[in-house]
């Protein structure tokens, strides 16, 4: 836009809207609410991402942590492409650490 308010083709730009005080106040208030809403949305997305990545979420997204809970007759369906072996919890998350410790103790016990 040139300084004289004329487009390249010679067409005049429309006059900018002149808001009265009440309209300007309403617009500012609306902008403030919109800004706060956007901030809230960004915060919530960040929060959910943080909770999910930190692994503290205990719903079905981390499905194999729930597999051995009482009252659950069947393991939840595996994601496509995952075999049952892959769904076994890692050794350090085994539900029976006491049993594993007992095995080690037996192996390390001196023969009589």
């Amino acid at each position: 836009m040139s300084d004289d308010g004329v487009k390249k083709g010679g067409e005049q730009f429309p006059e900018p809207a002149h808001l009265d005080d009440a309209a300007r106040t309403a617009q500012k208030r609306r902008n403030l609410w919109l800004g706060l809403a956007l901030l809230g949305f960004v915060f919530l997305v960040g929060l959910t991402t943080f909770v999910r990545l930190s692994g503290s979420e205990d719903n079905k997204a981390n499905f194999y942590y729930n597999m051995n809970e009482a009252g659950q007759d069947e393991a939840p369906a595996l994601p496509p492409g995952m075999s049952p072996d892959q769904a076994v919890p890692p050794a350090n998350l085994s539900p029976e650490p006491a049993a594993a410790d007992a095995t080690v103790d037996e192996e390390e016990a001196p023969e009589q």
């Binding site: 609306r30 919530l44 997305v45 719903n59 997204a61 659950q72």
Partner: protein, 317 residues
């Protein structure tokens, strides 16, 4: 058809006007039933959900409900202007421009579905998206102005929240979740027709084919009674599946007797007829108000049982 809408007087909308656009009273009931579904799912399946994620999921349901309300008010602003009851809503009163209402509705729809997906799973997010589409498009744009069964079929939109709450926790929707759906679904006709008996002349003026307008008040009162009987039966099925226990059974049993009492009295009255006595009109209004209390207490009983460890099942499939 509707009368030509008059040009609304120009005034600047406040935050309160935008809140009204989201239909906060409906939102409260939607949130409450979603929380009930969420808590019942936790109690029945033993699966848990991170409390923070659960709170965000409930917020997503609230935003989705508000989005559907804004889309509804955007589309219905012409008939809202004609009816006295709705003429003070933000768009017909000139506080909020139509284009801002639809923009708000669309943006909130996207935000709510995205938040639900982030906080829970794609199934709950998909159900939320579908329920917004159901209310905003299937009910508002299609059914409402085309069939007297509008609120029967459209009632499905309001019945989704407990299913969404359940899906957010478990990632699936078993029979118990759909029983909660059915309770809200069969509750909607007697609830809404009790109101439309009082306001049928307004709907007639606006050209909305509500049952009392197309089939008369007598047929509507009979339909209300039939749906209340079906609701009474459906609302007791949680006792069979084990979803509801003794507390639920007693509370819902008493509420069903009271709801049936209202339905029979309204059926025998002249509520909605031309020149109906004031007492009959008052009776229809009492039934409308009681129906809100009914749904609140039925779901509250479920919440109390499953959240406070007071669930003592009568039966179980």
């Amino acid at each position: 058809m509707t009368d030509a809408p008059a040009t609304p007087e120009k005034r600047y909308g406040t935050a309160g006007d935008y809140v009204q656009l989201l239909k906060p009273r409906i939102m409260m009931l939607v949130v409450f039933t979603a929380v009930a579904g969420l808590i019942a799912a936790t109690g029945v399946t033993g699966q848990s959900m991170n409390p923070l994620m659960a709170a965000i999921a409930v917020l997503a349901v609230a935003l989705g409900s508000g989005a559907a309300g804004a889309i509804n008010m955007w589309y219905d602003s012409d008939i809202d202007l004609v009816m006295t009851r709705t003429s003070t809503r933000p768009i017909p009163s000139g506080a909020v421009p139509r284009e801002e209402a639809i923009a708000l509705g669309m943006i909130m729809s996207g935000v709510s579905v995205l938040l639900m997906w982030l906080a829970s799973n794609w199934l709950a997010a998909g159900l939320l998206a579908f329920s917004i589409f159901y209310y905003g498009v299937i009910y508002t744009m299609w059914l409402k102005r085309s069939t007297p069964q509008n609120i029967v079929i459209g009632g499905g939109a309001g019945a989704f929240p407990p299913v969404i709450g359940w899906a957010a926790v478990t990632g699936n929707t078993p029979l118990d979740a759909w029983i909660l759906f059915a309770i809200t679904f069969f509750w909607t006709p007697p609830h809404f027709w009790a109101l439309s008996l009082l306001a049928h002349s307004e709907y007639e003026k606006a050209g909305v084919p509500m049952l009392p307008v197309t089939h008369g008040a007598k047929a509507t009162r009979l339909q209300m009674l039939v749906y209340t009987i079906v609701l009474a039966a459906v609302s007791m099925t949680p006792l069979v599946t084990g979803l509801g226990g003794w507390i639920y059974g007693v509370v819902t049993g008493v509420l069903n007797l009271a709801f049936l009492y209202f339905a029979v009295r309204v059926w025998r009255s002249h509520a909605g007829d031309n020149g109906a006595p004031g007492a009959d009109q008052k009776l229809a209004r009492s039934m409308f108000l009681f129906s809100i209390l009914y749904l609140f207490l039925v779901f509250a009983a479920l919440i109390v049982e499953h959240a406070a460890g007071l669930h003592f099942p009568v039966g179980g499939l």
